[in-house]
Amino acid sequence: ECGHISLSAPIVRLGDSITASCVINQNCSRPGLDSQILWKLGAELQPGGRQQRLPDGTQESTITLPHFNHTQAFLSCCLTWGNSLQILDQAELRAGYPPAVPHNLSCLMNLTTYSLTCQWEPGPETHLPTSFTLKSFQSCQTQKDSISDCVAEDGQSHCSILRKHLTLYQKMGIRVQAENALGTSVSPQLCLDPMDVVKLEPPMLWTVDPSHEAAPPQPGCLQLHWEPWKPSLHMSQKCELRHQPQLGDANWTLEGPLPAETLQYELCGLLPATAYTLQMRCVRWPLPGHWSNWSPNLKLRTTEQVPI
């Protein structure tokens, strides 16, 4: 090897100093002739190298970059050679920050894939390759019985724990760990039972088919029928209905709590001969859970008022 750079540390905090030394062995420098060792940061020459000849005849130059504020750069050790400058070695310098403590850790249980997806806020940019790993344990008190790590993909702030790693209906402790070359930080623990953070999909809301033998709706009434989201049929739920006449900026009116499933529900007290927008949502109940989003709009029109 002609020349070899060694660094105080290849990765430092932004603004810290970096010291590098470059040793040129004899077979690369011309005997008797003291070639000058020069340093380049990227394409720019860097003054301040202190050069000395070592007892074994090799030459060494040391340089300190006081405040290194590039996130990435190449430092080259060069030798004057006739009127050219020869690059003999090159080292990659990186600078950034240790990871901040990830915050806003939250999880949702997906009943289609039956996986627990957790997401978090990673905190400020570290400028360094930083890995995020979900560390989860079968219990919230002790850190024994750890569940296999869930490593987020590069640049992603979420990870999904597969069903086979979960013990449903049991509390588990979850933390997210951020790690890069400058340090590691761990979020506070989230203690939850996956089934208590199920995110339901909205129920299906229909109007009852008029051809059905049921009696036609009263004026100012609508006949509705709904069904909870299929994958959540085994969960007891309660639901809410909201409706709004399509008149200027009318407000929503809320009806609830309503049972998770009815064959037929008559909604009355509405304005006759008026177009209404209806929506429904459900939540696991009485066991804990998250409300589903509101279902897509169902647009219906109440019948005319029969002249008395």
């Binding site: 090897e1 002609c2 020349g3 077979n27 690369c28 380049k40 990227g42 394409a43 190449f74 080259s76 060069c78 030798l79 050679w81 050219s84 400058l85 020869q86 690059i87 003999l88 070695d89 090159q90 080292a91 990659e92």
Partner: protein, 173 residues
């Protein structure tokens, strides 16, 4: 020696010209990446390192248009390509950003060497045994592989420039 122009099929010459242009564009892409990402833009800055690593260059002396000896020229063209194929393989392990470009370049050089070798066989001037790769430089650091990439590509581009001139001369109607 074979009469230069008549004995080489036009399709062979056209394929060679096409392959040279492709390899030149692969080489330019690699040089561009080495310069943009690693600031290694000038092979002249790496001559000393090249000597210490023992990166060989290969002549194309049998091909000057004045005294063209076709067999010598084809065989030098092939052994030069064969050497560069080996040198590019020795760069294996270069950074993930460069690897696809180096692989493409190495495959294109290897296929061009096969095209020349196949033509030598068709002309009955190919040696009995396929050449074997000599000792290749060993690159012991990421920097040396990058610097080796700059030097090998730069030598290859000069080699191809001369080869292209000869092939165009041979392909003239």
């Amino acid at each position: 020696p074979l009469d230069p122009a008549s004995s080489l099929p036009q399709s062979f010459l056209l394929k060679c010209l096409e392959q040279v242009r492709k390899i030149q564009s692969d080489g330019a892409a690699l040089q561009e990446k080495l310069c943009a990402t690693y600031k290694l833009c000038h092979p002249e800055e790496l001559v000393l390192l090249g000597h210490s690593l023992g990166i060989p260059r290969t002549p194309l002396s049998g091909c000057p248009s004045q005294a063209l000896q076709l067999t010598a020229c084809l065989s030098q063209l092939h052994s030069g390509l064969f050497l560069y194929q080996g040198l590019l393989q020795a760069l294996a392990g270069v950074s993930p950003e460069l690897a696809p470009t180096v692989d493409m370049l190495q495959l294109d050089v290897a296929n061009f060497a096969t095209t020349v070798w196949q033509q030598m066989e068709d002309l009955g001037v190919a040696p009995a045994l396929q050449p074997t790769q000599g000792t290749m430089p060993t690159f012991t650091s990421a920097f040396q592989r990058r610097a080796g990439g700059v030097l090998v590509t730069s030598h290859l581009q000069s080699f191809l420039k001369l080869a292209y001139r000869v092939l165009r001369y041979l392909a003239q109607p």
